[in-house]
């Protein structure tokens, strides 16, 4: 049963007279607990597709279905509420708030959702950090962490509200191979625990080890193939 799907998803961008195609007629669907990667050459529309899947962007035509429900016509506030509740984003750069401690950064989505009381939020945030081996860094500011640590905090924040979908855009792009492997393992683990994980990546190893690969070229979807190392 597909929990997240696109139907003829198309996104154009206007810059004055010129029209760019970011994503063209993409129809994919994801099942619960799936670990999928999106690959393709630079500029092929991978990030754009991810933003559309995560309800950050609005399609020009086509639709994104969440549990079979159309989202294309939802107002921004409704999409924001869905993002908060169901989606966790990890971007290539860590994107933490510099004034907040690690713990406060992780608690940010929880506080906005406001489903737990403060103590529960704190212990939940500590739990997520502990799961990523970051429990001793909770009181530090992002500027006091290494790149890999920051990325792990970003993952922790993406997990804060126990989202059903984790969307990551080249999460290992700024990391060395050891840290990349750690982040990748983490994401894989999440999918085993029932989160649907969709990762944009250039990393060959990732692509091979993922359950499924969606390939884009010029915003268009290539036929899905069984993944072989030589292809990447």
């Amino acid at each position: 049963m597909s929990v997240l799907a696109t139907r003829n998803l198309t996104r154009h961008l206007h810059d004055g007279e010129v029209e760019f195609t970011l994503v063209e007629d993409v129809s994919v669907s994801f099942a619960e607990g799936e670990f999928a990667v999106i690959t393709g050459p630079s500029g092929s529309g991978k990030s754009s597709l991810l933003y559309l899947l995560g309800l950050l962007d609005v399609p020009t035509s086509g639709d994104v279905l969440l549990d079979g429900e159309s989202t294309a016509r939802l107002p921004e506030d409704a999409r924001a509420a869905l993002r908060l509740r169901h989606f966790g984003f990890v971007f290539q750069f860590h994107f933490l708030l510099p004034e907040l401690t690690v713990l406060d950064n992780v608690m940010l989505p929880m506080r906005q959702l406001a489903r737990l009381d403060e103590a529960a939020m704190r212990s939940a945030a500590r739990g997520v950090l502990a799961g990523l081996g970051m429990e001793d860094q909770a009181r530090k500011l992002p500027s006091q962490l290494s790149g890999g640590q920051r990325q792990r905090v970003a993952v922790a924040r993406a997990l804060a509200n126990q989202p059903r979908f984790i969307l990551a855009d080249e999460p290992t792009g700024s990391l060395d191979s050891r840290n990349s492997a750690a982040v990748f393992a983490m994401l894989q683990d999440l999918s085993r625990r029932g989160h649907t994980v969709i990762v944009v990546t250039h990393d060959a190893d990732f692509a091979v080890r993922a359950g499924r690969r969606i390939k884009l070229v010029d915003g268009r979807q290539k036929p899905e193939v069984r993944i072989q190392k030589s292809e990447i």
């Binding site: 993002r83 908060l84 984003f89 971007f91 004034e99 907040l100």
Partner: protein
């Protein structure tokens, strides 16, 4: 735990302490000056107003009609065009025709003191010289409670006038010119014939015109000298409650028909100057606060620009646009609130300081500026400051909430 938007707002302000402090100072100065200067201006007006109220009757009933009497023909045909010519004014003998009836009615009203007067010219003769003066016939014992004459008495008293049917109270300047003192007699020529008056009192108001040209005599004596027995042409009224002046005057006018002017009407010119003064001072002070608003606009704009990335992150996480607006609005309000509170303290001490400055043109020694320190001034100044702060923060906040977070996320990844 603080609400999320407040928490982040505070972290933003903490990252720009110096600029925030300057903005706070701007607001504080605006609020402080507003409180102190408006208090001083209104204090001056208040002083002047009480002087006016104290030295003038609260209501004057005079022998005039507000609208000329209708010609009998005019009432007959409502919309007719009439051309009435050669109308001669009626009433050769002016005065309040039913003065005794009016006074009896006034006697029954609580909180009302009145004094009837008849004014008229007199020619005083002393040592072969004539002095034309304006004489007021008064009922001395009534006058005591309805005007300032008692306060202005230098020698003698109103009681002396009451006791002497041919007594006269003259101004200090006139006494000096005539070289007349208590007990001296003055020959008088008037419309009603010749008479002799004896000086029983001397007053001094400080106003040249009065001190040299005004005398007070008994009402009955004046009526006799003017040849207008039982006539009164003015009734001056003082009220226990000054705020009743306008409704009271309206009531008297509709009841007796004669024009009854409250002090607000008599002094309408000076009061309208006050209105203009207030308009100028309040708009100037509000403009100062508006400038303080620029400071807030500046800091919030800078923060919004600086935190564009953070805003994009928060939006992507799922904070809705209103939460972002709130976050920056709160920053403006924090700066505005601290500034307003500091301004209230500053305004209070400025007002206290101004209240120690000697008043220019003081009539009594040691008199200082009157500065009103009133709660509503603080509330008003603080309220205006907060409104301006909210507005100054809202403009950049709205811009922050409107920008598409994807523009920033796309650019960075």
């Amino acid at each position: 735990m603080l609400p999320l938007s407040l928490d982040i707002a505070l972290s933003h302000i903490r990252s720009r302490k110096r600029q925030a402090l300057v903005s706070v100072l701007g607001v504080a100065i605006g609020v402080g000056f507003f409180i102190a200067l408006s208090g001083m201006m209104n204090g001056f007006q208040d002083y002047y107003r009480t002087e006016l109220i104290e030295s003038n009757p609260h209501i004057v009933i005079s022998d005039e009609y507000r609208t000329p009497a209708l010609q009998p023909l005019e009432g007959a045909e409502k919309d007719a065009v009439l051309d009435i010519k050669r109308v001669l004014p009626r009433d050769p003998v002016r005065g309040l025709a039913n003065a005794p009836r009016i006074m009896r009615a006034l006697d029954l009203m609580p909180g009302v003191h009145y004094a009837p007067t008849l004014s008229g010219q007199l020619l005083l003769r002393r040592a072969g010289r004539d002095y034309a003066v304006s004489a007021l016939g008064i009922a001395p014992l009534k006058e005591e409670r309805a005007s300032n004459l008692v306060r202005d008495m230098n020698q003698g008293s109103l009681a002396h006038l009451a006791a002497a049917a041919d007594g006269v109270i003259i101004g200090a300047k006139l006494a000096e010119k005539m070289q007349a003192g208590i007990g001296d007699t003055l020959a008088v020529a008037a419309r009603g014939g010749r008479a002799t008056l004896r000086v029983v009192g001397i007053f001094k108001t400080g106003l040249e015109q009065l001190d040299a040209g005004r005398v007070y005599v008994n009402l009955t004596k004046q009526q006799a000298m003017q040849g207008r027995a039982r006539i009164v042409n003015q009734i001056r009224i003082r009220l226990a409650d000054i705020r009743q002046s306008i409704p009271m005057a309206e009531m008297l006018e509709s009841r007796f028909g004669y024009k009854a002017a409250p002090w607000e009407e008599t002094n309408s010119r000076i009061l309208s100057v006050f209105v203009l003064q207030n308009f100028i001072i309040y708009s100037t002070l509000t403009a100062i606060m508006l400038v303080a608003g620029f400071g807030i606009y500046n800091i919030i704009s800078t923060v919004v620009g600086e935190k564009a990335r953070d805003i994009a992150i928060m939006r992507s996480i799922g904070l809705p646009a209103p939460a972002i607006v709130r976050m920056f609005l709160v920053q403006g309000l924090i700066v505005g609130t601290i500034g307003a509170l500091a301004g209230c303290v500053m305004g209070y001490f400025m007002a206290r300081g101004l209240a120690m400055v000697p008043a220019p043109g003081a009539t009594e020694p040691g008199q200082t500026l009157r500065v009103l320190i009133q709660g509503w001034r603080f509330v008003l100044a603080g309220g205006i400051a907060l409104l301006i702060a909210a507005w100054a923060a809202w403009l950049p906040a709205r811009r922050a909430a409107r920008t598409n977070p994807l523009n920033i996320i796309r650019g960075a990844t």
